[in-house]
Amino acid sequence: MSNLTEIRWHGRGGQGAKTASLLLADAAFNTGNYVQGFPEYGPERMGAPITAYNRISSAPLRVHSNIYEPDFVVVVDETLLSTVDVTAGLKAEGAIIINTPKSVDEIKSKIRGYSGRMFTIDARKISEETLGRNFPNTPMLGAVVKVSGVMEEKAFLDAMEGSFKHKFATKPEVISGNMAALKEAMQEVAK
């Protein structure tokens, strides 16, 4: 049997949810998995709600539809909670991870009809502390890997370091910040 993990990302255009889904696909590929990373495209506008998806499996992936019953949902922008049904189809044994400075207790009332695990993480704070700017996608990537356990943590961090070295070949000074953002998110989300 394959161990398929399906992840749905909710963000706003320009926040990097698509990039985060592609980075996760990259890391999962580099740790030996079959992967899919794809965004749902609509009119491309900064700030408009967007969705991106990941499938990660030990077996080849053939299905080519969006994900309707995800194992995990990542919400990169808290304001989407009041406009998008982010938990639609989310499996009860899965989890939702939300970027917000609030605690789970404070935000619970906004997520009705979901009885599974909830995690919050202040990705903005982590990003500003480690990268000096608000790039929430890197901390959210660390958080979803930690919560989902879809990859072994050290293998994930090694794979990401390789990806960042490749991606930021012309500006290596940002690699350590990105790695710090991942690590801090992985610690914070578990609390």
Binding site: L22, A25, Q36
Partner: protein, 393 residues
């Protein structure tokens, strides 16, 4: 052993182009195929290929430049989608009738009216009578493999026709998935050099291209073009076999997936075929004899082979990601039904128009089609043979 990688369908095509290093690439960007010339122009700028990259002001000019360079004797590629292919329409016919084996990456997207950027086969289906060979691809791997094979097919002396390699816009063009690339040296050896027998820059044997063809000859030339399209069938099979011997991935006119003992079957092309395979496996677990015919080659249409593959099934659904407004079913349906007509006991056939303008196709949709086919097989009245999948009425 190939090279394990993860690429989007557009990256896969650009990568194949880089490995082949064609002589000329004229291109004009259009979503969702824009990334192909974008990535390729980086390879040009980096000196990784020595291709002449021609920037043009429209797709009509892109295809016209392709015609000029291929006629001159240069191996030529381009990429487009949707309205871009529509704007090429006039000159697609010139390329085919001039017997110029141009290779085009078509990233399937809906045609405007209303405007839409998503997956739909209206663009390439609209070009189905242009005389181009059409190859369809389930995923990034097949887009890559088909693109490499296209040169050997189109440039074969018995064929000499242009080839378009299609894949679904965004679904596979922008989706990143695992892929096994072939070593560049092997790709180069497989594709070989382009050595046309007749070309305009040959000073020893001057030829004319595109002169007026009067009624005295026009019909003979069309007949010859048809002969070339017929010849393509044998070449497609031999190239698919040779490619398999090199890569381990063999290609035919279509993939018959669990079709041998199937009682009902779906015919579909491009990315939805992958979704359908998952459904076939799940329903087979429940003991239901369902099968899939994933069409790879649409032009030339492998009619006899399709009829043979479907002769024992009791009911067939043919899926079209295009509305041709014939009012009797989609274009793939019409052709499949035509070839089934000559069978002694033809299966019942149902046309499903699906996924227009990027409407998502889920496993539950495919499952509903199989359940309907199984009911028809068991004696349920077939009812309306021309249906829409997942539309709000």
């Amino acid at each position: 052993m190939g090279i394990r990688d993860r690429l989007s369908g557009n990256e896969a095509i650009a990568n194949a182009m880089k490995q082949i290093n064609p002589d000329v690439m004229p291109a004009f960007p259009i979503t969702p195929s824009t990334e192909i010339p974008q990535y390729f122009s980086q390879f040009v700028a980096n000196g990784e290929v020595d291709t002449e990259f021609v920037t043009v002001e429209s797709e009509h000019s892109a295809m016209s430049a392709c015609i000029g360079s291929e006629a001159a004797g240069a191996r030529t590629v381009t990429a487009t989608s949707s309205a871009g292919l529509a704007l090429m329409h006039e000159v697609l016919y010139v390329a085919a009738s001039s017997r110029l084996p141009i290779t085009l990456a078509c990233v399937n997207r809906a045609l405007t009216g209303p405007i839409n950027i998503n997956a739909d086969h209206g663009d390439s289906m609209g070009a189905r009578d242009s005389g181009w060979i059409q190859i369809y691809s389930e995923n990034n791997q097949e887009a890559y493999d088909n693109f490499i094979q296209a040169f050997r097919i189109g440039e074969h002396p018995d064929v000499q026709l242009p080839v378009m390699v299609c894949q679904d816009g965004f679904i596979t063009s922008h989706g990143v998935e695992n892929i096994e690339l072939i070593e560049t040296e092997k790709v180069k050896n497989f594709v070989g050099d382009y050595c046309p027998e007749n070309y305009m820059l040959n000073p020893n044997e001057t030829i004319a291209h595109g002169p007026y063809d009067s009624p005295v000859y026009y019909m003979e030339h069309k007949r010859q073009q048809l002969e070339a399209m017929k010849n393509a069938k044998e070449v497609i099979l031999s190239v698919g076999k040779e490619f398999g011997e090199m890569s381990g991935r063999f290609y035919d006119f279509f993939e018959a997936y669990k079709l041998e003992d199937a009682e009902v079957a779906i015919v579909v092309l491009n990315s939805t075929a992958g979704t359908a395979k998952d459904v076939v496996d799940a329903m087979r677990e429940e003991g239901k004899k369902v099968g899939l015919l994933k069409l790879r080659i649409f032009r030339p249409f492998p009619g006899e082979e399709i009829a043979q593959a479907l002769k024992n099934v009791k009911a067939v659904a043919v899926m079209d990601r295009h509305e041709g407004f014939s009012t009797i079913g989609g274009p793939v349906f019409s052709e499949v039904r035509t070839v089934l007509y000559d069978l002694p006991n033809p299966p019942k056939t149902i046309s499903y128009v699906y996924g227009l303008g990027g409407r998502d196709v889920r496993t539950i949709h495919i499952e509903s089609i199989y359940n309907e086919l199984l009911a028809v097989k068991d004696g349920k009245d077939q009812g309306e043979a021309y249906r829409y999948l997942g539309v709000r009425e």
